[in-house]
Symmetry: C2
Subunit: 122 residues, 2 copies
């Protein structure tokens, strides 16, 4: 499975008035542009429930953990694509810290294990 | 697939000193006790990267969205089991708001879509 980035198009910036197009839509457009010509798939969806820390995306690929990022900006679209390709190349399904774009460090909201995951040493 | 609750056993409370057993371990123990005799599977893992708002769990079942909750306490274990069973009965894979235990409303951190999800009206 190619890496997928789900972009929440309903995201606003916390504490800011509602404007159109929403910041989430602008992020989706920028991410779609940045993904053009790559193997990364960008999908729009309506809510990742990270409303207090948007704009938000979820990132995953085949058998990987799923990563949630927040506080994003259209200028971060290239970093999202870089992160998606980094995850796609990670054999353990974990997004490496080394080489990870800074915005995917400071913007990390949470991560979710792949289906069927069991911790090996617990 | 039976509903699964992943409990992060490395969670501490933000701003509190490190104590043993960690609050995440106490939550895992309470959740395992509350799940006894139900179909709910409780799995321990090491980090959901929700470190600023722990203790944390992830909840999902077959084909459902995955829900992340934070700020939890061992006293919330019963609510987690109730929520897991509510999700297991949701045909659309979405945890209903109506009837959802309060702690799974105020403690919601984020949600991620099932594998292969596409928004139907975007």
């Amino acid at each position: 499975m190619a890496p997928e980035i789900y972009v929440c198009v309903t995201c606003r910036r916390a504490g800011e008035p509602d404007i159109e197009p929403r910041p989430g839509v602008l992020l989706a457009e920028a991410t779609e542009r940045a993904a053009a010509g790559t193997e990364v798939i960008v999908r729009r969806l309506k809510c990742l429930a990270n409303c207090t820390r948007g704009p938000s995306v979820a990132l995953r690929c085949n058998g990987s953990w799923t990563y949630l990022f927040g506080g994003l900006d259209p200028a971060d679209a290239g970093a999202l694509i870089d992160g998606a390709r980094l995850l796609a190349g990670a054999r353990d399904g974990i997004l490496p810290w080394l080489g990870r774009p800074d915005v995917l460090k400071r913007g990390l909201i949470a991560r979710v294990p792949p289906i069927g995951f069991t911790e090996s040493d617990l």
